[in-house]
Assembly symmetry: C2
């Protein structure tokens, strides 16, 4: 099979104007970025978002994945292509790729095989510049905070309590913890700080949650950036550059339109982390797609305990958006892993391990059902899957009354997504959603945490570190207690321990820190080590990327 | 008078396709970025650059400027507009603005008043993402070097001799000198390093000097990044990611097309510093414009001792490009400064100070003439200028046989540039260029330095620090002695001391370090303190920038 980039480069793309017209966008409602990318104008957004939603929302999530991922993005794209094959008008909404992982382990993040969004190289490399804009806005604020410290510090910011770090769109472990301001007073104040990867910035989360430029600017102003010597919070608006930050984000705020390999509309916009942020593409893109398209497919980061839960409890709360059906992506190899098989052997048939790993799938199904949402299991097919193992999954799901479909979209594109498309359409017809969030925002923080831990992750309860207990009290005293929670825990387990596979029980969620993301509008609860600046592997993917004399890029995958 | 951004927003822009068509570009030779920006395709570049140059090149430079700058960019744009007013087809080629100064002291860098390139906000904020691409390519290499150090260090790189720093497109003094890799072995190797502003990156210089993707990649591979424990040079190609870096730069490599306020073509592309780099826009943009336009106006950074000299000695050597005429921008207030007037009083009439400051102008005129090029002095008019002082300048230049024209383009746009346009056209007709570079590249390094110091800067000679003497020997031993020189000295004086105004004599150029920029293809000779990461002022320009609910940006100037 050809590589992803070979497939992507072998397809003739439709001019982006055709895609826009097919969606019903007028000529003045979008602007081209090259011949095959576009951004929707702010005027069009303002006009369209006052109209009623006409589309039904299909939310793609996954079981707890292997390190390689289980193909949520491919499935979302391939399902869209499959819906197209059966004659339906569908649009996919995705997060945009970060350069760090592209050059690290992961390669590209625009789908794979015959289920991709294109132009693949451009989406993976800079795209329309949104992530760079987020990084610049973030780092402008950082520079202004440090400038304030070195120019008299009128706000009395404690240099040891600046919580606003810097960002870079790169996997650069060397920058996780740094000392800045060395070399004498002309170089500012010496202090310890660090860099996160840009998509971990609260600015990215805000970009994805704001519903207007005004909302964007206000959210930026609300961000907590430091504490004074007296322990009082300092907000971004106190530094006076949230207007400049919003100006830097003006174009990044506008959803990007591209296409699937089969010529359907794809909004690829925003990309917050699914641990310290909510992990879903911009609400503007999803809301817009729901005004333009009969069926809208979207996906969230990591497993259903992370991205999906955050969509249901955070995004829903800010927007009222609810899915009509949830597609839960599983794979034979991931179930093997949950059944105790080592990384090297997950591709070998092993029905016992598969059955032993099934509780992870079951737990995620039950979790989705707890929100009152119908679920369809999509088995993302790999060439090594044994038919009897696929049958075992079907049988177990049938016992639970949950529809299952094989998805073979990486190998076969839309054709490989027809079975899943049919199952999804059937669920939309037959299985009405009756959505209810897991918790009301006005519950006490510890009560909200307890619900998440026990009802979603399967823990026996929650253990707060002494520091976290103090932060909970502070948060409630500062009036932040009514915010939804964003638990930052490992994506490699339903628990907070990456080594616990399956559906772990008999453990407690250990929360070590509460970090208020006041602009995004949630309290990040850190459980375990959460990586906000990845490192590169010994041989980074960047070593394989190249360009020839004609400008053709190779080695992305 | 309205502000720059008010003027820019009051003008109806022509669709960029009209500008491209006016230049004779076919529809498939450019790609839109929004409705009023475009990039020329690589195919078009390959095709066009094999054709002969048809245009004449007008190079705009300046005397030693005040801290506020003397209006080179405005003059270049206004001259282009003036040439348009007298019925000539002219294109302007400029550097693109860096976000650091935009949010620091300077405000925007797309001209001013009625002499601007537009869309002004977009050119100043991210534009088409070129500078972000440069920063990403630069920082990818930095991350890979540190990754190499922490993954076995097969190349035996001495962590204390990594010369490749990181970059950020921000004025952030706090990052000038940092310690990275803190927090234990998982976070890499502890070492001292720092950040420069992105436009100071050698990658930016390369982007502006490379003539093809192949050349771009080769130059990136040639960059010196570190030394081994044994003192041997380590090049970027040894890390194996110069292909990925070139891939990241693919779109940034393509010249950007925008327009002047009066609807003429403007290529705004690349923006290297004029001290540690050569300070001129991309050669691709200039070469392309010379194939498409009868008259091409371009400008270089800082005074004629910096940007212009580097164009004549570095850019010419790599491309064969020579100007047909040089416009030297002067102003009454700058001549006051050179005559010893304090910063606060430069706007008050003071004919004696003006005459006392004249040697700076004269020296720059003689310098340009030394290259065999005809020169036209443009007096950039400020509202406070006294007529008798303007007359004094005219008289003095007339004595030297040098044409002078008043330029009133900031206040009056193209109409204010007609006098200058006429003088330039007259010089093109009447004053043939007989270009000769200052030195042959194959002279010894110290001989080249001596020529620059004595013949351009007016020094008595050169003093090399012991370290620089050693570096000269090393450079010659390593085979880098035949590269042209790029002197990094203050832009505030013809000398290496920013406080010496006028045309200082009786001093020696003190060179403290030789820094090989092997990818760009020159040896940077550092004379005095050269700032490669600016800081923010007490009240950064960012505090004034804002955006309203409709997305209109205000406060750029």
């Amino acid at each position: 099979m050809p590589t992803d980039i070979e497939i992507a480069q072998s397809v003739s793309l439709r001019p982006i104007g055709e895609i826009a017209a097919h969606l019903g966008l007028e000529d003045d409602e979008w602007e081209p970025y090259g011949r095959t990318k576009a951004k929707v104008t702010l005027e069009a957004l303002q006009r369209r978002l006052t109209q009623p939603r006409i589309g039904r929302l299909i939310y793609v999530t996954a079981i707890t994945a292997t390190a390689a991922g289980e193909g949520k993005t491919c499935t979302a794209i391939g399902l869209t292509q499959g819906l197209g094959k059966v004659g339906r008008q569908a649009t996919v909404c995705l997060r945009e790729p970060s350069l760090g992982p592209t050059f690290g382990i992961k390669g590209g993040a625009a789908g794979g095989g015959y289920a991709q969004v294109v132009p693949m190289e451009e989406i993976n490399l800079h795209f329309t510049g949104d992530i760079h804009a987020v990084g610049t806005a973030h780092n402008l604020l950082a520079a202004v905070i440090d400038n304030h410290l070195s120019k008299g510090n009128a706000l009395r910011i404690d240099p040891n309590r600046v919580v606003w770090r810097r960002v870079m769109d790169m996997n650069d472990r060397e920058l996780r913890q740094v000392v800045v301001g060395l070399g004498g007073p002309a170089n500012g104040v010496v202090r310890e700080t660090g860099f996160d990867i840009t998509v971990a910035s609260e600015v990215m989360a805000i970009l994805c949650l704001a519903d207007s430029i005004t909302d964007l600017k206000e959210r930026l102003g609300r961000m907590l950036v430091a504490y004074t010597y007296e322990g009082e919070p300092v907000y971004a608006r106190d530094l006076g550059v949230h207007g400049a930050m919003a100006a830097l984000l003006r174009d990044a705020f506008r959803p990007n339109l591209v296409q699937t390999l089969e010529g359907q509309p794809a909004f690829v916009h925003g990309g917050p982390f699914a641990n310290i942020a909510h992990g879903n593409n911009s609400i503007l893109a999803t809301e817009l797609a729901l005004r333009l398209s009969e069926l809208v497919v979207t996906e969230g980061g990591f497993g259903a305990d992370l991205g999906a839960e955050k969509f249901f409890d955070i995004v829903h709360g800010y927007t009222g958006l609810t899915p009509d059906v949830v597609v839960l992506v599983a794979s034979v190899r991931a179930l093997h892993m949950h059944g105790g098989v080592s990384k090297r052997e997950v591709e070998q048939a092993n029905p016992e391990a598969l059955l032993a790993g099934m509780p992870n799938l079951i737990r995620h199904i039950e979790n989705v059902q707890r929100f009152g949402l119908p679920v369809v299991v999509a088995i993302n097919r790999f060439p090594t899957d044994a038919p009897e193992e696929l049958e075992l999954i079907r049988t177990r799901c049938a016992e639970m009354g949950v529809p299952v479909a094989l998805s073979d979209v990486v190998a076969r594109g839309g054709e490989g997504g027809v079975e899943l498309a049919a199952a999804v359409l059937d669920a939309l017809d037959q299985r009405p959603a009756d959505f209810r969030p897991l918790y009301h925002w006005n519950l006490p923080i510890t009560e909200k945490l307890d619900r998440l831990a026990t009802q979603i992750y399967g823990a026996d309860g929650v253990e707060l570190s002494p520091a976290a207990q103090k932060q909970v009290r502070e948060a409630e005293r500062n009036g932040w207690g009514q915010l939804p929670l964003c638990v930052a825990k490992t994506q490699h387990s339903l628990s907070d321990d990456p080594d616990l596979k399956g559906a772990p029980t008999g453990w407690k969620l250990r929360v070590r820190e509460i970090r208020p993301s006041l602009g995004a509008g949630f309290l990040v609860c850190l459980a375990g080590d959460v990586m906000t600046m990845p490192g590169l592997p010994t041989h980074p993917a960047a070593e394989r990327v190249d360009i020839d004399a004609s400008g053709r890029i190779t080695g992305l995958f």
